[in-house]
């Protein structure tokens, strides 16, 4: 007598579990991508806000400096709105420390420099005090502003400078 045993095998539990685990790992690998995208979006938002704070510093400094060129010596300044005048206007005040808590999280410095030009070529060679082959350009000033903030424990900054000519 011929005895034939046919075995029909399905998956065993361990195989099914392994496949589920692999599937889960693939599915959950999407999480870091989403998290990264959300974080990236957050960063660009801060940077956008920081650029507006930076622009404010540069624009106000330009307007004040060009209005009264000789009045403001080189140095660090803070901006504020002078409400003692009618109508109110921008004003710069000399300071040592940066402006804190601008738009809640930002700090900003504004520095005004006199620049040096090469006596022969007139090329801008750096900031005062000038060396032997250059002289101070009294009709040009450099406004430099730096905005810093802390994001998730990391210090970040954006900076800009504007060369202003008084002619």
């Amino acid at each position: 007598m011929n005895k034939k045993i046919t075995t029909i095998k399905g998956f065993v539990l361990i195989e099914a579990l392994i496949s589920i685990v692999i599937l889960s790992m693939i599915a959950f690998s999407v999480f870091p991508i989403v998290s990264f995208l959300v974080k990236k979006s957050g960063v660009s938002k801060y940077e956008g806000r920081a650029s507006l704070v930076l622009q404010e510093g540069i624009e106000v400094s330009y307007n004040v400096l060009i209005s009264d060129w000789e009045r403001y010596a080189d140095g660090r300044y803070s901006i504020f709105v002078d409400e003692t005048l009618t109508p109110v206007t921008w004003e710069l005040v000399a300071t040592n420390s940066p402006d804190e808590n601008i738009d809640t999280i930002f700090s900003r410095t504004i520095d005004v420099y006199t620049i040096c030009r090469n006596i022969t070529t007139g090329v801008n060679v750096g900031l005062a005090p000038c060396t032997g082959d250059s002289h101070e350009d009294r009709s040009t000033r450099l406004i430099e502003s730096v905005v810093t903030w802390n994001e998730a424990g990391i210090d970040k900054e954006v900076k800009a400078s504007l060369l202003v000519a008084n002619f």
């Binding site: 007598m1 011929n2 005895k3 034939k4 045993i5 046919t6 075995t7 029909i8 095998k9 399905g10 539990l13 099914a16 579990l17 589920i20 599937l23 599915a27 999407v30 999480f31 989403v34 995208l37 959300v38 979006s41 660009s44 938002k45 956008g48 507006l52 622009q55 404010e56 624009e59 106000v60 330009y62 307007n63 004040v64 060009i66 209005s67 009264d68 060129w69 000789e70 009045r71 010596a73 140095g75 005048l85 009618t86 109508p87 206007t89 921008w90 005040v93 000399a94 300071t95 040592n96 007139g122 801008n124 005090p129 000038c130 082959d133 002289h135 101070e136 060369l163 000519a165 002619f167």
Partner: protein, 221 residues
């Protein structure tokens, strides 16, 4: 012939465990998908706000900065004939054409003139434009714009005539606006400020040096 078939599939308990695990996974996955869609929608609306904010910033900055004639009103700015008007429908219009999307509502718009008058009497405008942007579809998605722009001083000499930027007189000046008082040049340095380093005197130019060519006035950036 005696044929014996041995079926080795899942037992009931294995199937139940499998179904339970699959259920949990599907629940987790559906929550993830819902979050993804929700985040995607929020990001999209947030990006629309950012885009609008950026458009307003770039447009106003470029045109106010280099305008020769500026006219400021509470809800509009006219720069060299280009009219930017914040309408009551919450949109910004440029010469009557909407600049911002209909899905974004601009509110609490304040245009403040904080210009300083030059010692020479010439006035260069410096504006502060503040406004709130809100998504019409979801009011909890909002943003704030605080934009400061200063008009640049340009002087072009054509045949001996000097053309400088001017401000057109406001047609109906506010009665509360009084002429700007003249300032006395009295700097008010911070008492805590560190003294500036002594500058080296300007060196005497070398008499043998080649004379510098006459430079035309220019603005450097």
């Amino acid at each position: 012939m005696n044929k014996k078939i041995n079926y080795q599939g899942f037992t009931l308990i294995e199937l139940i465990i499998g179904v339970l695990i699959t259920t949990f996974i599907f629940l987790g996955a559906s929550a993830l998908i819902l979050t993804l869609f929700g985040t995607s929608g929020r990001v999209q609306k947030s990006q629309s706000l950012d885009q609008a904010k950026n458009d307003i910033q770039v447009e106003l900055t470029n045109n106010i900065k280099w305008a020769k004639i500026l006219l400021i009103e509470p809800d509009s700015i006219t720069a060299d004939g280009v009219i930017y008007k914040f309408e009551s429908d919450g949109r910004l219009y440029k010469n009557g054409i909407p600049m911002t999307s209909g899905e974004i509502f601009l509110k609490n718009v304040y245009i403040t003139d904080l210009s300083r008058t030059r010692v020479s009497g010439e006035e260069l405008i410096s504006l502060k434009v503040t406004l709130d942007l809100e998504s019409k579809r979801s009011s909890n998605i909002s943003d704030h714009l605080n934009l400061v722009v200063s008009q640049r001083r340009t002087k072009i000499e054509i045949g001996g005539d000097i053309i400088s930027p001017t401000r057109t007189p406001t047609p109906t000046p506010s009665p509360s606006v009084t002429p700007r008082p003249t300032r006395t040049p009295t700097p008010t340095p911070d008492p805590n400020a560190t003294p500036r380093p002594t500058r080296t005197p300007t060196p005497t130019p070398d008499p043998n040096a080649t004379p510098r060519p006459t430079r035309t006035p220019s603005i450097e950036y």
